[in-house]
Symmetry: C2
Subunit: 316 residues, 2 copies
């Protein structure tokens, strides 16, 4: 599927994954409202299955497959949240999954994927090796490749988080979400455009992986090269499917320092009592940095995209 | 009010505090279900205002006062969650609050209370000094004393957490909550007895502060002396109002080690992505220890009573 999903695709995705994904809560926190001078509504995708919004898109993709295709299984290359998301989505449908992962991936990530019953396939830690290994798996097994973000089924699934947020809080002024490959943000834009067209959509990137901000400024897709940030979910280049969606719908992309991300993570933990990974804390980091220039009382939706962080290695 | 609250008192409390307290979400976590072999529903009072269920009772107590009494303010002695809860409840009603706190209390706790606009009144770190100082404040100001747990308004407010949990999940088999002064647990018992009488109510205490377990065994109220546990919210003796409620309604009280509490906190942080203080993790600790003896698939409600823990001083 090379075309952007429609609102109908998004609605169908929402029906397809109902009962599998959590309808995550929208958290509010008086202290964060006070500090930002806004009314902040946080869609807690850190409480989603596998601890990240990725489970929405993976579930939609796996459940979109015909019986025949599904029975041959699914495959991807990822050492991040998409790996666990696809493994668990396959488990929920009762079909096999092969996850190509570099030998350099942390043991805990391999174990998490294996814990969902998927097979980890080793490869060298280069993009070429990943792609070659995945191609070999597909040839050997007939498994369907599910891209982490550059896939309309993934985008439609990711969009369902914004659908739920807008149902819970219909009168938002702004929605902010992190931008890595752009699946979450483009899904969010499409949902908002259809359901609440007055809502302003703002993407957020780390300073050290700002390809989407640079693309938006240049008016053309620019690759991410040598990213450098603690936001390990946002290292990748923008998807080719997602780029024009973001170009056409985003008001802007804000960039944040790693230090401000750490401050946002701490605030979420100490005041909102919720564990958010660096990538997921970028929208709050951006809001904290800009709160002086935002009209007081603005109703801001933030998508806390994930919560997979090791409590033994907190970045402070 | 020396009598136990009725279900009508609890319903009125719920109406009185609506719009002030959060209707906190009920969290579920596939990993915790798998590990415990149960269906676990966690009432996230760590996401409550001031980070603890205490805000329910304090709000109910402050909002129960007549205009005349309320205008003279409220007073308590506490260095724990009740101090912040009463300060914020007074702020919400726009009346003054005096919080008597030992000079030994951590600076961060004093600042939190002052942040809600309350006046901190110093005293020596003895129970006698606390009570004398509070009595003096009341004499000087006409403020109404609000006890942290041995008060029917506090119990009725605390009970509203269980009311919401039972509304969200009507077919629970078991509810477990921590027992310190017993306000939360007795409110939970009263709500369950009225709304879901088949639900089994189980209290949980740390090994190092097990006065309620010993009271239950002895059939008479036994004081807590020299408690020793990381569960800083559960150090106190059982309230005299709460003891007969627990005696008459509890199936049992389970006790847990500090190590098991730390394990439960870690599990909540890593898998449920939620920050829970030691006291609030005791029910999950008890469930983890007993999961082998519980019928698989049992539907267990846990009240995560609070989330006020310093991310710089996590106990691992």
């Amino acid at each position: 599927m090379a075309e952007a999903p429609t609102i109908e695709d998004i609605r169908k995705a929402h029906e397809r994954i109902a009962g599998v994904v959590h309808p995550t809560p929208v958290l509010t926190c008086a202290a964060i409202d006070r500090i930002t001078n806004c009314r902040v509504f946080m869609k807690a995708e850190n409480l989603q299955g596998v601890g990240a919004f990725k489970f929405r898109g993976a579930s939609n993709a796996v459940r979109s497959l015909s019986e025949g295709l599904a029975s041959k299984g699914v495959c991807t290359h990822s050492s991040g949240n998409h790996a666990q998301a696809l493994a668990r989505a396959a488990l929920e449908r009762g079909v096999p999954a092969w996850i190509v992962m570099p030998t350099s991936a942390p043991r805990v990530k391999r174990m998490a994927v294996e814990g969902y019953g998927a097979t980890v396939v080793d490869c060298e830690p280069t993009l070429q090796a990943r792609e070659d290994t995945a191609a070999q798996v597909m040839e050997d097994t007939g498994a369907t490749f599910i891209h982490p973000y550059d896939d309309a089924r993934i985008v439609a699934g990711a969009a369902t988080a914004a659908v739920e947020l807008l149902e819970a809080v219909p009168d938002l002024d702004v929605i902010m979400a992190p931008v890595g490959g752009g699946g979450l943000m483009s899904g969010t834009c499409l949902a908002a455009a259809a359901l609440a067209p007055a809502v302003r959509c703002i993407g957020v990137e780390p300073d050290g992986a700002d390809d989407a901000a640079r693309s938006l400024e240049a008016g053309e897709w620019i690759a991410q090269e040598s990213p450098d940030t603690i936001c390990d979910g946002l290292l990748t280049s923008l998807g080719k499917l997602n780029w024009p969606i973001l170009r056409d719908h985003l008001e802007t992309i804000l960039t944040v320092s790693d230090d401000s991300v750490i401050e946002a993570m701490r605030l979420l933990m100490t005041r909102a009592k919720t564990v958010v990974e660096p990538s997921g804390a970028t929208p709050l980091a951006a809001l904290l940095a800009r709160s002086g220039t935002i009209e007081p009382g603005t109703r801001v939706g933030l998508i806390l995209s994930g919560g997979n962080v090791d409590p033994d290695s907190l970045p402070w």
